[in-house]
Amino acid sequence: MPTNFFSGLIDMKNVEPFLLRFKKESISLSRVGTNEADDYDSSLDMMMTFENGKRIPVIDSTKGQRRTKKMDMEKGEDQKDTLMWR
């Protein structure tokens, strides 16, 4: 193992944790990125969108899911509930 000449400690500056060998780029949108037609309606407490000329709740959209399971998983939300938002 390489050691730091001055401190005698193991030099880890250029070492990455083993698991990072297998990292894959998140391909889904980030949390913030949503369809441009979406807007939050605070009187309904729901995200709305336009579809076929009508304003409808995003959960009724037929254009597929905005925030897929996979996306949330990739973004770590499903597995990272640190103290609230930390």
Binding site: M1, P2, I10, M12, V15, E16, P17, F18, L19, L20, R21, F22, K23, K24, E25, S26, S30, R31, V32, T34, Y40, S42, S43, L44, D45, M46, M47, P57, V58, I59, Q65, R66, R67, T68, K69, K70, D72, M73, E74, K75, G76, E77, D78, Q79, K80, D81, T82, L83, M84, W85, R86
Partner: protein, 337 residues
């Protein structure tokens, strides 16, 4: 208020009928809950916590009160609160363009203050939390999960969580070279420009693994359960909703089914009663109301892999039509009663 009246006032703690939802405005799963609450004409308040900076709040002593301004007026949560759906609270300024935000230092300070304010809600007695954030956090620990699952006589894959190459070698040989690796904590890696994720990965060879890269952080190694069928089990109190995960094409479901793109099917099914009871018990023992468990079936035996205490479920509501929002509302309306 004299002492007698104050005692009566104190007696009203937790006797409210308000359901509080803490999340962010992009949390579409909560929209399903909102819809059910509206249909049932239940009293609720959705707070997208990234917008808290635009609200007026105050906590006062003596005579503990916890006031939050909403579009319909001021609510004293000490008197009104019955239950909390704790989903995905947003950070103040999280969705504000960087150029319109205060400095990072200020944002961090603001976050910390709001964090404490929200955490303080846990002081209000007789309130049902789905789930309590501290219990969520505790239950995230994969060592704790496996230890509890074993106590409950769940089958679990042989596991070695280690930072030692020697241990990995022994474990690799024990499992005859069939092992996977995964993160002990959230395997999300955030770089300034891109995010990365580490899914469960089959380890083909250990020859070139360096001691240093292993010693840098402990890693979960588990025996590879091949020929498996994946299950996602969503527990809400005494209710258990299960889907079997199948490939819709002529493909095998990957080791980590989350890596599959579009060709997965989620088929509602029932678990054997004994397994269902264990799932419900595990969630209960972790102090949770809600939990999303990952199980696999190998040779007719069910293995526990992990639990996501605040797991995502909107995809099951929509694609598979499972009544998860309805069941959550049932519990939220019931409160601690």
């Amino acid at each position: 208020m004299n002492d007698f009246l104050y005692i009566i006032h104190m007696g009203f703690f937790g006797c409210g009928n308000m359901i509080l939802i803490l999340s962010n405005k992009f949390d579409i799963s909560v929209d399903y809950v909102v819809r059910v609450l509206r249909e049932r004409k239940e009293k609720f308040l959705r707070i997208n916590t990234e917008d808290l900076v635009e609200r007026h709040v105050s906590v006062k002593f003596p005579r503990f009160s916890y006031d939050i301004q909403s579009k319909t007026g001021k609510h004293d949560l000490v008197k009104e609160l019955k239950s909390v759906l704790f989903r995905r609270p947003g950070r103040p300024f999280e969705f504000t363009p960087r150029e319109s935000r205060p400095s990072d230092t200020v944002v961090k300070f603001v976050e910390d203050q709001w964090h404490s304010f929200i955490e303080g809600l846990r002081c209000i007695e007789n309130v049902l939390w789905v789930n309590d954030p501290i219990k969520n956090h505790d239950a995230e620990n994969k060592i704790k999960q496996l230890e509890l699952a074993e106590k409950l006589h769940f089958m679990i894959p042989r596991t070695c969580i280690t930072s030692s190459k020697e241990e990995v070698l022994d474990f690799y040989n024990l499992c005859q070279g069939n092992i996977v690796a995964k993160g002990l904590y959230s395997p999300l890696i955030e770089y300034p420009d891109k995010d990365y994720f580490v899914f469960t990965t089959v380890i083909e060879s250990i020859d070139d693994i360096g001691e240093e890269e292993l010693s840098l952080a402990p890693t979960i190694f588990q025996e590879l359960l091949s020929e498996k069928i994946d299950y996602r089990v969503t527990v809400i109190g005494e209710h258990c909703f299960t889907v079997r995960i199948e490939s819709s094409a002529d493909k095998v479901v990957p080791i980590d089914w989350r890596t599959a793109q579009e060709d997965l099917q989620f088929v509602p099914c029932k678990l054997p009663l004994k397994v269902t009871r264990k799932c419900i018990e595990l969630v209960k023992r972790l102090g949770l109301v809600f939990g999303a468990l990952d199980l696999v079936k190998v040779n007719e035996k069910f293995y526990f892999l992990e639990i996501n205490p605040n797991g995502e479920w909107g995809w099951l509501q929509k694609q598979v039509n499972l009544p998860i929002a309805e069941t959550l509302v049932e519990y939220l309306v019931r409160g601690t009663g």
